[in-house]
């Protein structure tokens, strides 16, 4: 066997936008392996299954769902390797607390600046 590639853990595992994401896997027929076909957004498992069935039900004998936040991902990919965790850029730039309610832009403040 060749040398194992170096993979890093992808830290940004929560893909909710804001609805929880469910990774979807389908099997077209019994002779084929499961195939990952993306994710659906749903608050609960039943809703995720309903959505996945609407999108892939005609083409699948099996549908598997997995909460996207529960997947441990390791990759050679580097996009998120130095993401600095889960903090939005603007709040990361601030040295104080991340309570952004204090810096929330408002219509009024925009007007003042203009």
């Amino acid at each position: 066997m060749g040398e194992t590639k170096r993979r890093s853990r992808i830290e940004s595992g929560d893909r909710a936008n804001p609805w929880p994401q469910w990774e979807v896997f389908v099997r077209r027929d019994r002779s084929r392996p499961m195939r990952h076909v993306g994710s659906v957004a749903a608050k609960e498992r039943a809703g995720a299954h309903e959505q996945a069935s609407r999108l892939f039900g005609r083409e699948a004998v099996d549908v598997w769902l997995c909460p996207a936040a529960d997947v441990d991902r390791y990759s050679t990919r580097e996009l998120g390797s130095d993401s600095g965790g889960e903090t939005p850029p603007s709040s990361r730039d601030r040295t104080a607390s991340t309570d952004d309610s204090s810096v929330e832009p408002t219509v009024e403040s925009a007007g003042e600046r203009s």
Binding site: N17, G38, R92, P105
Partner: protein, 401 residues
């Protein structure tokens, strides 16, 4: 995106090469000399927003949200879009101006060779910010206004939002930024269309994009607020009338329709009624080149957590995540049966969409509205407003030749 002003009034624009493969027919500098091969990418750079619009497809929030791209991630993402040949990245949100690094990222996209454009509520566009964005290479700012002042502010959840948006538009125009209106048409604001155009023409605006309501995000909760198909047809007809009237007075406003490709067929019919069969045929040919509903082909969306969607309204389904794979790899992966089916939808459309005479310029309209209302992504678009004669009869220009 369908340009009323080009199809009915011969107004050429910098998007003609991209949309109609008609760069040679335009005197304007073109975004692209040929019809696009890679999609325009809408990037929801943040979920945060300072407003709370009733129809927000991104269900944006005023609170900070974890998991947005860092500046470093965003730049790598923009590099990958450039490598894939994406012609345009639309910085959207939430409200993209709440990102402290927006100007930096716009400059980076410019440098990478992806044309940066902006979708904003306009309320945070100070004079200084407009100049900084212009200097960073921003090519266009689309500002959302959804009705006359009281209606807009109610819709947007904040008193003063209308006035602040107008100030933002003025700052963009003063900075020399190409600027346009974004207006989502609903039952609540359709009566304001002409007044908003008139008001913004006085402000100095000359580009107006009208969006039909699609059923994603917060918009899905206000399906009942959508116009009926009959009302929708009437609203589109009024926009056509307004556009032609302006041009006949010598004021060359640019007007566009987004999100309902029944508009394509309607424009052919409108052209025949108002200008005759020859014009109708020309409109039809342009729309053939345009290719109909762009879902999964000419437009894509990447949300604030990196999920890739078929359009910005398909937030309920993701093809993959750019934190796992480059955008181009996800977009090219037709082992995904839904992506393959959406791109090869012609033989799958059912009901009246499956036999419509205009399906080559419409391609079935919104598959998301069909999915949301019937559970079948290939069922008829419930917001198609064409009548039976238009769908099953002769094409508008055939009977007259």
């Amino acid at each position: 995106m369908i340009s009323i002003s080009k199809l009915l009034c011969d107004l050429d624009a910098e998007g003609d090469g991209l949309r109609y493969d008609d760069a040679a027919g335009s005197t304007k500098h073109q975004i692209s000399s040929e019809r696009q091969r890679a999609p325009v990418v809408v990037w929801n750079a943040t979920r945060r927003c300072n407003l709370a619009c009733a129809h927000c497809y991104a269900a944006a929030e005023t609170k900070p949200t974890a998991g947005e791209f860092s500046t470093v991630e965003a730049k790598r993402f923009l590099d990958e879009l450039a490598e894939y040949g994406v012609p345009v990245v639309l910085f959207s949100g939430g409200e993209p101006l709440v990102r402290d690094d927006l100007v930096e990222l716009v400059a980076y996209a410019t440098e990478a060779g992806v044309r940066p454009v902006l979708s904003s509520n306009g309320t945070l566009l100070t004079r200084e910010k407009a100049v900084a964005l212009r200097d960073a290479g921003l090519r266009y700012a689309g500002i959302s206004v959804d009705g006359m002042p009281d209606r807009n502010d109610r819709f947007r959840g904040r008193d003063g939002a209308f006035e602040a948006a107008i100030r933002g538009i003025e700052h963009c125009l003063e900075a020399g930024l190409k600027t346009g209106l974004r207006y989502t048409i609903t039952g609540a604001n359709a009566s304001d269309l002409e007044d908003v155009v008139d008001l913004l023409v006085d402000v100095g605006l000359d580009r107006f994009c009208f969006y039909h309501l699609d059923y994603g995000g917060r918009g899905a909760e206000i399906v009942d607020a959508d116009l009926s198909p009959t009302e929708k047809r009437a609203a589109v007809e009024r926009l056509c009338d307004t556009t032609v009237d302006y041009h006949e007075r010598g004021e060359e406003i640019e007007t566009l329709l987004v999100g309902n490709y029944a508009d394509a067929a309607f424009l052919v019919e409108y052209a025949r009624r108002r200008f005759g069969a020859k014009r109708a045929r020309a409109v039809y040919r342009f729309l053939e080149r345009n290719g109909g509903d762009p879902t999964g082909e000419r437009i894509a969306d990447v949300d604030y957590r990196g999920n890739v969607h078929l359009t910005q309204f398909w937030q309920g389904y993701s093809l993959g995540n750019v934190r796992d794979r480059p955008f181009g790899d996800i977009w090219e992966d037709e082992s995904n049966p839904l992506l393959r089916a959406i791109r090869d939808r012609d033989g799958r459309l059912t009901g009246r969409c499956g036999t419509c005479r205009y399906r080559s310029i419409c391609r079935g309209g919104s598959r998301l509205r069909a999915l949301a209302t019937t559970g079948d992504p290939f069922a008829p678009d419930p917001q198609c407003y064409l009548d039976e004669d238009e769908i099953f009869g002769e094409l508008a220009f055939e009977s007259a030749t």
